[in-house]
Symmetry: C2
Subunit: 461 residues, 2 copies
């Protein structure tokens, strides 16, 4: 049986780490923003590069699989069909970079400052995805790949993975595996490793409120015509009560209620509220009455306005009552809530609460299901042992507030659990200006991943 | 005594109307947007052209008077110091043109369609202001100017006339007159002339709500950190109760209460609610309980959000909790309310209602006082007779919902009443895309103005 040693791994990383960083920089320089059609060529070019990198690392049957949207890059290395197979998932698309004026260096001009790689996608998910390709290369070059490996790298994660479901349904044989391995989450701190065992779901919606058929002068019409911005604000305000409970009827019906025991267990995770407030410059925390900050971001659903616009937003003053106002609203969901159902009850509520004086449109963007992954499985144990090996501390299982909707879909379509072994930090500013990823974390990921294969193969026997 | 006849006026207009329109087009082609610094050169160029046009029309002592902002163009024709003097006020700056994509033709490429001149400023106020220069030219060329005339044309009306007050204070002698004549308002319809005898005041404010010190990922932080957009919406919503009364303590304290008699008189003005709804494509009207639509836009104060922005407003979806959210909010004021006081109580209320979890900034933009002008004065009677002469119907005195803050300032500083003899229509879409001004209205203004001078001089004897 093939095994891998500390020495093999550390020596290879030491020798090649500069190249590992340079290759990631090459990826980060391409603005593969899937949300904005003007970057279409860049997104497609990124897929080409991933293909090339997989081939160079030693993958076989590498192909760019077309979808109705951006393609999925597939590659594999079958060592022995009798050995277990790990399916690695990642994404090569990134979030938009705006507000661009808040970046200290160009979002697509990666630089290292204070040991951190600054660029859009540095952590989410180019950095974390590319660790897997480099760890694979390491295992191939050192003849230490312990089991079979398959790669599936998509380009639409940041816009809802709309075409991944169809691809998975149509390629069940090709994607056959024993577990899915994903690095698109984080650890608590560099000295406190953790593994994500729960993710929130998502329902993302755009709304439009229309009042007069054209922009009006607020002097001549103000007071007599519904102002769509005021109305939109009133409708958004009504969606939460004074305890910050969401008022959509039925919203909490399916929410998983944790036992006091589970909540007590959760409360043991290290957390300093004063540090938290200081790091974000918050004068106070804010959220649902009756829950702690960690509970609010993990086991409780939310409703946040992610964007709002209407009327005159330029310099100076314009006394206008606009014809329309818009908002992008998303809800994070917890286990047993269903994205389609939540989207539907939001729509009904929003339409019903609109005063007769306005017209409203509710346009669902995308959704994803909440998920809890087992933390007594072989795969979880392999990840835990791998991290303990390289961090020197046993990782803590945690529930994350974020959403990777495809985890639930993989379970349904392929019957596979996922292991969410990520290496990012909450402070990496993913989806924000100045996103970054620690060089430490990038190399620690490349170091840890080979152990996962080793332990997973051993424990699978 | 100099007098003027129908024949003189009509013959001159007939001969020159094509040129009158072409000259206005020349003005409309310059984007003199005072709110946006990028148009600075254009605003200044417009002042130069106004100067040239005044000189060509026969004005004397024409000068471009510098201020701390955009200059004021002054010119005069003193026929005889013993005769009355009319001070004409107008403005050469215009509102911003956005949303530009809603214009059917370029906002600064004037065209005539269906008898209407389409361009930003066609009505407000280049078209209405230029009527006075052309009426003055007519009187000069036909030797029929009955009294003295002074012009004061400013370039900051659309941004609050910040420097006009200082100019007026410093030039009281130069501006000495018997009445101020302004065309920056409208008539009810082309067959129902009216004269504005009341204007609302204005308090215009920009607010900023800040929560975390950077944009956050809504998955990782959603639920635990105040979302500045949600908070801003909640704060705006709280500013009105379910009867659409404004909740700022003290807001209504000074509001002039009209007698039932006055309200009954007002209700006689022709108004068709179904026509109104149809013209604006409104499913219903919306406003303060207990008042009619006409009352809501004239004798009652308002609070409208003129612009709102925050978070991700591009295409697609971005799951962000932004650091900041903004709104531009204006309040229209009625007689006896004071703009500075209202701005102050708004600021106190907004700051007080902010939850501890956010920081707020309240930035006053500009304000103006409400005003009621007398409708039993010589000047009002002269305007009324002039309009009756050219429209064939006696004009109705009306209160307008708009604000021309300088009217109150003229009264305070110069001790002069203003006559608001405008020729626009509510449907002219001023401050909106596709602003226009009827060729009928433009020429009717040029035709009516000389009669004002005639009657004002006669009645002043």
């Amino acid at each position: 049986m093939i095994t891998i040693t500390n020495n093999t791994i550390n020596a290879y990383i030491d020798e090649h780490k500069e190249r590992f960083i340079n290759e990631l920089f090459e990826l980060l320089r391409i603005p593969s923003v899937s949300a904005d059609p003007k970057y279409k060529k860049d997104v497609l070019r990124t897929a080409d590069i991933i293909k090339e990198k997989l081939i160079n690392a030693g993958a076989e049957n590498v192909e760019i699989c077309p979808t109705a949207g951006y393609p999925i890059v597939y590659g594999e290395k079958i060592v022995d069909p009798k050995l277990p197979t790990v399916l690695v998932y990642g994404h090569y698309d990134v979030q938009p970079a705006d507000p661009i004026e808040l970046w200290h260096s160009g979002p697509f001009e990666p630089v290292i400052k204070d040991g951190k790689i600054y660029a859009r996608g540095a952590c989410d998910d180019k950095g974390q995805m590319y660790m897997h390709i480099k760890a694979f290369e390491l295992m191939m070059r050192t003849n230490s790949l312990a089991c079979n490996i398959k790669f599936m790298v998509e380009g639409e994660e940041e816009v809802g993975s709309d075409n991944l479901g169809t691809f998975v349904k149509q390629n069940k044989e090709k994607l056959k595996a024993d577990v899915i391995l994903i690095s698109d989450t984080g650890i608590i701190a560099n000295h406190i490793p953790s593994i994500t065992v729960g993710l929130r779901g998502l329902s993302y919606i755009e709304v439009e409120v229309t009042s007069p058929n054209r922009d009006l002068h607020s002097g001549l019409y103000g007071g007599a015509v519904a102002n769509p911005i005021n109305i939109l604000c009133e409708m958004i305000a009504k969606m939460k009560d004074s305890n910050n409970h969401i008022t959509i009827p039925g919203f909490y019906d399916d929410v998983e209620i944790l036992s006091d025991e589970d909540r007590t267990e959760m409360a043991k995770a290290p957390f300093d509220i004063e540090e938290y407030k200081k790091a974000l410059d918050l004068s106070d925390i804010h959220g649902e009455t009756g829950y702690t900050t960690n509970e609010r971001t993990s086991i409780r659903p939310t409703l946040d306005v992610n964007g709002i616009w209407g009327g005159y937003t330029g310099e100076g003053a314009k006394t206008v009552i606009p014809s329309k106002a818009y908002a992008k609203i998303s809800m994070r969901l917890v286990p047993h809530q269903n994205s389609a159902k939540i989207t539907q009850i939001f729509k009904e509520y929003f339409e019903r609460m609109a005063p007769k004086s306005v017209k409203v449109k509710v346009m669902p963007h995308h959704g994803g299901e909440p998920v809890v992954t087992p933390h007594n499985s072989i795969a979880y144990k392999a990840a835990s042992k791998a991290m303990e090996n390289t961090f020197g501390v046993k990782p803590i299982p945690v529930r994350s507030g974020g959403s990777i909707p495809i985890v639930a879909m993989f379970k349904t379509e392929l019957g596979l659990d996922s292991v969410l072994m990520g290496f990012g930090l909450d402070s990496d500013a993913i989806h924000s200006p100045n996103e970054h990823y620690g060089v430490f974390n990038y190399l620690k990921g490349i170091e840890t991943i080979p152990y996962f294969y080793k332990y997973f193969t051993e424990l699978s026997k």
